[in-house]
């Protein structure tokens, strides 16, 4: 998988986004404090926001090109999104939530069959329940399953563990690893917690003030960051 | 005391005197008289120093308000019926009631069309699909229209074409826009719009007696000023103003 963001520009009030980046397969972390522009980048990749300039290409296909006025709508991009609290549809059962994307598979077909996904994420027993009756961890797993059933070429995760306490976080991490290893879905993992990124990602990009500061293997990048903050 | 001081005292006293004797009059009057009465009221105010305040409305609503105790000194109604009701309820000072104006019922048609209406019988014609009138129960002009049509024996024939409306303005609008083929209003109303033309002027002898009575309300706090204002309305100066607006003299 190759995702390239070229010359992406966006202004919202005082906030200016300026990003040029390329992401390969596997799990790439997007690290930065809140307000650094991470969520905006995800929204642009998913097609929920249009940049004022720049282009987004996924595996060579143009998703957005501001200069030519090209903008593929979100439902046709094959890009899944798991927002911070899962964003499950409260008026539907878990089963209906997971089946929402059924019928539209822009991805690898058989690999993302619903039964398999549900088993992978251990949510088989939750099917008849309502989102309101689920714990935080269960909600995230259902949200992941829902996104995976649509067979995405790329999965965007916006601080998926942020709302969970440490115990739950630990409980959900293995499932994320399963998605990475068994389904091999490329993921872009946004977080402000270095530990999570280190636990899951092979590469990480650092954002601050709307710009991409650095990108590279996790160990190296974090070492550099620590060095920046070390006492002189 | 020297002369300038004397003059000053007399001057101040005169002002105070006129101020003290100036009355505040509440005159409840039919809305159709708004413009004319506003002018007459101003003339009266200048002449006497009294301050006339008007409450314009539908005659039915005004009578109701007075019955419910509204602080009116004088009523000028668009029909005798409402004042009859007030008289019967003992709310009028006897002897203060008199008719000051008359009006004429007319049939109007859209100015932009060649209307076939020339005489009342034409209202039954095939081309006349709708005739606008004020709702007879509510609008005096509508009640007079009904009375006239009944007198001519045309009421049963045209009643299915009638579009009763809330007020005379609505009748004017309906005719002016061509949505109805004819309408009944007063002569004074018809003068207001260039989009309508008077097709039939109901002769005063044949038509209903449309007179505007004035009366002084029994509960007035200014009986003197109220009676004086009522008399002023019959005077030559006021009548000249009314004539300008198309009103006729009662007789």
């Amino acid at each position: 998988m190759t995702l390239s963001l070229k010359g992406i520009r966006l202004s919202a009030g005082e906030f200016q986004l300026a990003v040029d980046a390329e992401f390969g397969g596997g799990v790439t972390g997007l690290y930065g404090v809140s307000g650094s522009g991470k969520s905006s980048v995800l929204e642009i990749i998913a097609g929920l926001r249009r940049p004022s300039a720049g282009s987004v290409e996924l595996d060579g296909a143009v998703l957005t090109d501001a200069a030519c006025g090209v903008h593929l709508p979100p439902e046709r991009r094959g890009v899944g999104l798991v927002p911070q609290d899962g964003a499950l549809f409260p008026h539907m059962s878990v089963e209906d939530n997971v089946r929402f994307a059924e019928g539209r598979t822009v991805g690898a077909g058989g690999l993302f069959e619903r039964g398999r996904v549900c088993e992978l994420l251990g949510i088989g027993g939750l099917m008849g329940r309502r989102p309101a009756g689920l714990s935080g961890g269960e909600r995230q797993r259902v949200a992941l399953a829902r996104a995976l059933v649509s067979g995405p070429r790329l999965l965007l995760l916006d601080e998926p563990l942020a709302a969970l306490d440490p115990a739950r976080k630990e409980a959900v991490l293995p499932y994320l690893r399963r998605i990475r290893d068994e389904l091999r879905v490329p993921m872009l993992y946004v977080s402000h917690v270095p530990g999570e990124i280190a636990a899951l990602c092979n590469e990480v990009a650092v954002m601050a003030d709307g710009r991409l500061q650095r990108q590279g293997p996790v160990e190296e990048v974090f070492r550099q960051l620590r060095a920046n903050y070390a006492e002189p | 005391m020297n002369w300038p001081q004397r003059i000053l005292i007399v001057w101040v006293a005169a002002i105070l005197a006129t101020g003290a004797s100036a009355a505040d009059l509440n005159v409840f009057a039919a809305a159709s008289l708004s413009e004319a009465l506003a002018q007459v009221g101003a003339d009266y105010g200048r002449a006497t120093g009294d301050h006339v305040r008007f409450n314009f409305g539908g005659s039915g609503a005004l009578a109701l308000q007075i019955k419910l105790g509204a602080p009116a000194d004088v009523i000028v109604s668009a029909d005798e019926l409402r004042v009859d009701q007030l008289e019967k309820a003992g709310l009028i000072i006897p002897g203060t009631r008199r008719a000051i104006l008359a009006n004429q019922l007319v049939v109007i048609v859209p100015a932009a069309e060649n209307s076939p209406v020339v005489s009342p019988a034409d209202l039954e014609g095939a081309g006349i699909r709708r005739i606008a009138i004020g709702q007879p129960d509510l609008v005096p002009a509508g009640a007079y229209a009904r009375e006239y049509l009944e007198r001519l024996g045309l009421w049963e024939g045209v009643r299915r074409r009638l579009v009763p409306l809330d007020n005379v303005r609505a009748v004017m609008e309906a005719v002016g826009s061509g949505d109805v083929e004819a309408g009944f209003v007063y002569r004074t109303d018809a003068l207001f719009s260039g989009r309508v033309r008077v097709a039939i002027s109901v002769p005063l002898a044949d038509g209903p007696r449309i007179t505007y009575p004035v009366a002084v309300i029994r509960s007035t706090r200014e009986p003197g000023a109220a009676k004086s204002f009522a008399a002023f309305l019959s005077g030559a100066e006021a009548q000249a103003v009314f004539a300008k607006f198309g009103f006729l003299q009662p007789n």
Binding site: P73, A87, P90, H91, A101 | D137, L138, L165, A174, D179
Partner: protein
């Protein structure tokens, strides 16, 4: 008594028809105002709010000018559809629709504003186009507010009178509604007749509110 029945059924029918006819545009406008920005949006908001702000009689006058036989819209109806609007029952439906639309739009807008945009966004990424996202996510989640708006609009339609009198007249058997009847009876001092009609209006309004409650409670949101 037959008169009262006719007036009641007519008023009910007109109010139902009027409310049903403003549901699609009212909901659509509510959603647009909640979700989208565009130049001139405040003009649209103002125009929609006008019937609430100006005297009903003035709204009636504007409708008369627009939908009269020679009016810009009325002439189109007459020429292409052979349909006459003013001074018929259609004008009653039109006037009540125009007067109750602002209430529906406001309530719908608030209802949609309470649906997190996040949910609609996620639905889009899951392959739902804008229409599916609306019908599968936004609409069901806004259901209670929209129902409340519909009930409000219906109640307003029942009580509407000033604009209706102007553009539909008070033609017995054709355009007289409960509220017109009440107005007339009060003016004529026929209080007991007025109270009868008033009582009927209250019963209808109560029924509408109860049905609205039932419908909005049927499935937990």
């Amino acid at each position: 008594m037959g008169d009262v029945l006719q007036v009641t059924l007519f008023t009910l029918g007109a109010a139902v028809l009027s409310t049903l006819s403003i549901l699609p545009p009212g909901i659509a406008l509510g959603w647009l105002l909640a979700r989208r920005q565009w130049p001139g949006k405040s003009v649209v908001e103002t125009v929609i709010a006008l019937p609430l702000v100006i005297p009903p009689v003035a709204t009636g006058l504007i409708l008369l000018r627009l939908f009269g036989r020679r009016g810009p819209l009325g002439s189109l109806f007459e020429r292409y559809l052979g349909v006459e609007i003013v001074f018929t029952w259609k004008a009653v439906v039109l006037a009540t629709a125009v007067m109750s639309l602002p209430l529906l739009v406001r309530t719908a807008r608030v209802a949609f504003e309470e649906v997190p945009v996040r949910l609609e966004n996620v639905a889009r990424t899951l392959g739902a186009g804008p229409w599916r996202a609306f019908f599968a996510v936004s609409l069901p989640l806004a259901r209670r507010g929209l129902l409340a708006g519909a009930v409000l609009a219906f109640a307003r339609a029942l009580g509407e009178f000033g604009a209706t009198a102007m553009v539909a007249g008070m033609i017995p058997g054709e355009t007289i509604t409960l509220s017109l009847g009440i107005y007339r009876d009060i003016q004529l001092g026929q209080d007991s007749a007025a109270y009868t009609l008033l009582g009927i209006s209250v019963v209808l309004a109560f029924a509408a509110v109860t049905i609205g409650e039932r419908l909005s409670r049927r499935r937990p949101a």
